[in-house]
């Protein structure tokens, strides 16, 4: 087992409910592949540094996962299929930090 952080950017048109729904569906995918979604972090709607597929803004979501590489592979495959996801990045981490990161804190204040 290893720890991963999977960050994805969803299109700005999506509402909070739709984002919750995608997180839920990803959770299902992870559980089917015997991986655990330990924590999620929402960074909210942020300006993108450059346009991605004509989007100027996007909803940032972080999934903190405990599982093996195959589960991540399956998750990334599904992210590529979902047209509402414009960018994703999965990173292997040494441990899972459940404290909110700098970016998460910023959105809570505003």
């Amino acid at each position: 087992m290893a720890f991963y952080e999977s960050i994805f950017i969803a299109r700005q048109e999506l509402g909070e409910k739709e984002i919750e729904k995608t997180i839920e569906s990803f959770k299902g995918i992870l559980e089917k592949n015997s991986a655990d979604l330990v924590d999620t972090e929402l960074w909210g709607l942020r300006n993108l540094a450059y346009k991605i597929e004509k989007n100027k803004k996007g909803h940032y979501v972080v999934l903190k996962i405990s599982g093996n590489g195959e589960a991540i592979h399956e998750l990334e495959r599904n992210m590529r299929i979902d047209e509402n996801i414009i960018r994703y990045l999965s990173i292997k981490t040494d441990s899972i930090n459940t404290e909110p990161s700098i970016l998460a804190k910023k959105t809570q204040e505003s």
Partner: protein, 86 residues
């Protein structure tokens, strides 16, 4: 930050030999900053106005930390937290 300090000592007299304070790596030592691709405010200090990564010989970041820093900047670019070109 550390970078600005080098100017303090060399303006006093022209005849004195040019003295430049040795810069140290901001990511090493007891007050080290943690390199994190989410922390764009810190990362922005290590890119030029055009968004290029500043070479370690100018920023005085140690070689292992420069590799970590470059990785972090590239990750921030993928997630559109930082620009590829500005």
């Amino acid at each position: 930050m550390q970078k600005d300090r080098k100017n303090d000592d060399n303006d006093s007299s022209g005849s004195k030999p040019f003295f430049r304070r040795k810069k140290t790596c901001p990511f090493s030592g007891p007050e080290a900053i943690v390199i994190d691709f989410r922390d764009t405010r810190t990362l922005n200090k290590f890119v030029s106005e055009r968004g290029k990564i500043i070479p370690a010989r100018i920023s005085a970041v140690s070689a292992p930390k420069q590799r970590k820093l470059a990785q972090a900047i590239k990750r921030a670019r993928i997630l559109a937290l930082m620009p590829y070109l500005a």
